[in-house]
């Protein structure tokens, strides 16, 4: 037992009594039960601590403001509304994504339907394409071609080539890295 010369409880044991009686050895407990001096010492300190707590409480102000909590019903309604909105938004987005994906897979993957055309249709298409080709070559009717002089286009081109030779003909006249004009200089 941790006690002084006269077998009284030491400070350590008295403090341990105040903290937790169950932690104190049985012998110390028995001593405390029969020793008024030790009991008095323990009770004095105990009273001091109780008084300390009581005075602290007494010398504290009282709260003036009431606690205001967020409105539960409003929070719930807003929460529900928010959940509902969020859920429907997410649903709509998911549906759009699903449609786009299925559209692509269904219509892209499927082979194109063979177009069965009749002979008449084929002939008509060929005639139409011939007309288009003619128009691409000469958009103007023959009468207008005569007026504009474009009916003599081939002759004119030869004539122009004679007057103004094409650029590649100049290359053939290049000798030793210098043109004829440069040689003269």
């Amino acid at each position: 037992m941790n006690s002084d010369k006269n077998n009284h409880l030491g400070e350590e044991l008295i403090l341990r009594f105040l903290i937790d009686e169950d932690d104190v050895p049985e012998a110390a407990r028995q001593h405390l039960a029969i020793c008024p001096l030790c009991r008095g010492e323990k009770e004095k300190l105990e009273q001091d601590l109780l008084r300390f707590g009581r005075i602290a409480k007494q010398y504290s102000p009282v709260p003036k403001r009431r606690i205001s909590l967020p409105e539960r019903s409003r929070r719930n309604t807003v929460g529900w509304f928010w959940n509902w909105q969020a859920a429907s938004g997410m649903g709509a987005i998911a549906a759009i994504i699903l449609v786009v994906i299925s559209w692509n897979t269904l219509f892209r993957a499927q082979p194109e339907f063979p177009v069965i055309a009749t002979n008449q249709e084929l002939i008509a298409a060929e005639e139409f394409m011939t007309e288009v080709d003619l128009l691409v070559n000469n958009a103007l009717p023959a009468v207008y071609l005569d007026i504009s002089g474009e009916s003599y286009l081939e002759v004119d081109e030869e004539f122009i080539d004679y007057i103004v030779p094409a650029a590649y003909e100049d290359v053939s006249r290049y000798e030793g890295g210098k043109t004829e004009g440069e040689k003269l200089c």
Partner: protein
């Protein structure tokens, strides 16, 4: 005075505990009135707990408000309704820590908060206090400050939770998330220092006289 203020200093009866448990369960299920009753039960305790650590009524009211709002938002997640009080105190301890951290940060920039001004001018003062009361209170809190300054951070917290906030060892261990043996060790050291503080004991004797 709130209902909690009239509660006997030591021990909560089994009825009170079971009543609290049922209120917590009802509040967790979304019953606003049950939470209001819990606020009535514990507002005083939490306010004082914060006041002891901030020594400013304004800050104590703000932090108490935050503590209850946080508890209100998370009460459905509390697994053990019987630990509601400890849980509330652990929220408060964290809030007070945040508050001191913020103040320290402000202090770095030389910013003087309204709370600090209030602390300087009115320690524990109530509106109906006369000059003598104010002086006595101021003196008491000065002595408390002197005592608490001699304790380490952990010793101070454990001592305050035990003897000022009236929490049991188990509750303190829950609040601080420490082993009970650790709590007891810190409490022992704090008590040793308390016992050797003549000014505090003198003050308590004067109050008794």
């Amino acid at each position: 005075m709130t209902q909690q203020d009239q509660r006997p200093h030591k021990g909560r009866t089994r009825d009170t505990l079971s009543h609290m448990k049922s209120l917590v369960e009802r509040a967790g299920g979304g019953e606003g009135e049950a939470f209001d009753q819990l606020v009535d039960m514990f507002q005083g305790d939490i306010f004082r707990m914060v006041y002891y650590r901030t020594r400013s009524q304004m800050d104590a009211e703000d932090i108490t408000q935050d503590v209850f709002v946080q508890a209100y938002k998370n009460i459905s997640r509390l697994n053990s309704p019987e630990q509601f009080r400890s849980w509330l105190f652990s929220i408060a301890v964290n809030r007070v820590r945040d508050f001191h951290r913020k103040n320290k940060f402000r202090g770095l920039f030389g910013l003087y908060t309204e709370g600090e001004e209030e602390r300087e001018s009115s320690a524990g003062r109530n509106d109906d206090d006369d000059a003598l009361d104010t002086m006595t209170k101021k003196d008491f809190w000065k002595q408390v400050e002197g005592l608490l300054d001699k304790l380490s951070k952990m010793e101070r917290e454990v001592f305050m939770l035990r003897f000022m906030d009236d929490l049991g060892i188990k509750e303190i261990a829950g609040v601080l998330k420490k082993q009970e043996s650790t709590v007891k060790t810190h409490l022992y050291r704090a008590l040793e220092k308390f016992r050797r503080e003549p000014s505090m004991r003198q003050l308590l004797r004067e109050e008794r006289g």
